[in-house]
């Protein structure tokens, strides 16, 4: 699936938070961080409070602080449904290393 992307859609209870294409998404799944690449098997997973990282097709990253919810992934479409989501600015590499949650 080289070159393929995932259509990501993040919604919170109040509003749509973010949507767009991504190369890779890391979600704070129930049993630890779960990386999702294009072509991942269909999955419906509970997620817990933590940080969600999105790598867009240009390699840029953006992150969201999310509270509990679930994700649904199939046919390269990822839907993230959470209580609350807050965008956090991309910090330095070091800060990112130490800031990994879940």
């Amino acid at each position: 699936m080289a070159g393929a992307t995932i259509a990501v859609n993040i919604v919170s209870t109040e509003r749509p938070v973010w949507s767009g294409q991504a190369k890779q998404v890391v979600v704070p799944a129930y049993s630890g961080g779960m990386g999702i690449l294009p072509g991942h098997e269909p999955v419906l997973s509970v997620i817990k409070e933590g940080r969600l990282d999105i790598t867009d097709p240009e390699g840029k990253k953006c992150s969201f602080e999310v509270t509990g919810g679930f994700i649904s992934f199939d046919s390269n479409k990822l839907t993230v449904v959470v209580e609350n989501a807050r965008s956090i600015a991309y910090q330095s590499e070091a800060a990112e290393q130490s800031g990994i949650v879940g």
């Binding site: 209870t13 109040e14 799944a29 129930y30 049993s31 779960m34 098997e41 269909p42 999955v43 419906l44 997973s45 509970v46 509990g68 919810g69 679930f70 649904s72 199939d74 046919s75 449904v81």
Partner: protein, 275 residues
């Protein structure tokens, strides 16, 4: 998700013959909305009567101040009520309502739990048409694969072949997370529909009231003019009549009469038109 797994979560299936059912009526906080609240209450009463005929014991939940005061005035016990947000229902109130109702639903029947939940709300079709609807919210009906399911708000609508999902950490855990949220968002949707209908109803009612007031003003102005005209005519007739009578004898008082006539005709016309 539905097509591959046999789901036995209580939100989806319930068959313990518990006669207690919950009814949630969505009314308005404020009046001046025409028949909005009264048609909801009428439909609720119909539903309650129907449920009682079926041997069920309905418990009443009311949202909106008008509905609450209606039932308080009639000394009807309310299980729970919410007020103050009907025009702008936020997530919090949807959350509070769905939590209370799910709590009641998940409780065993001997502790006052309910086996079904009905919502009476007003569906917003457009600014002119709103329709009162009764929705059976719980238990959630699982709709089997069917061509007509496309316009049903199902939890999963994957095109063509439905993918085989894997569940993390387990099916039950996922359902425990997803289904309450599903219920909450459906309730929130109903609240939004109700709020939109309420605003539309109120606008229609205000529009009708304005038109009615305008008609009244026109009507009353016309009546005022007519009566003023009538009184002037009457007075003129009297003066002319008496002047004629006097003239026949002598024009002694002719000068006095002329001044009186002039004064009458010069009288300022008060409030001849409001519009």
């Amino acid at each position: 998700m539905v097509s591959h797994t046999h789901i036995s979560h209580p939100i989806v299936k319930r068959g313990d013959g518990n006669p207690n059912v919950a009814v949630l009526a969505l009314t308005a906080d404020r009046g001046m909305a025409g028949a909005y609240t009264s048609s909801i209450i009428r439909e609720t009463e119909d539903l309650l009567a129907r449920l009682e005929n079926d041997g069920k014991k309905p418990q009443l939940f009311v949202y909106g101040r008008r509905g609450v005061s209606y039932y308080h005035y009639r000394n009807r016990p309310l299980e729970q009520s919410w007020e103050g947000d009907t025009e702008k229902p936020g997530v919090e109130v949807a959350d509070a309502i769905s939590r209370a109702l799910l709590d009641a639903y998940m409780k065993p029947s001997d502790k006052g739990g309910v086996s079904e939940l009905y919502i009476v709300y007003t569906e917003f079709i457009n600014m002119v048409v709103q329709k009162v609807r009764v929705l059976r919210m719980l238990p959630v009906e699982v709709i089997e694969e069917d061509k007509s399911h496309l316009n049903v708000p199902d939890t999963t609508t994957a095109p063509d072949v439905r993918p085989l999902y894997s569940f993390e950490p387990s099916l039950d855990e996922v359902l425990n997370t997803v289904l309450p949220r599903y219920v909450r968002s459906r309730i929130h949707e109903c609240l939004f529909e109700a709020a939109a209908s309420e605003v539309a109803c109120r606008q229609n009612a205000m529009h009708t009231a304005t038109e009615n007031a305008r008609d009244l003003i026109n009507d009353l102005t016309r009546k005022l003019n007519a009566s003023r005209q009538a009184s002037i005519t009457q007075e003129l007739t009297e003066i002319i009549g008496s002047a004629d009578a006097l003239n026949k004898r002598k024009s002694r008082n002719a000068k006095w009469l002329r001044t009186r006539l002039q004064r009458l005709l010069m009288r300022p016309r008060s409030q001849s038109s409001v519009m």
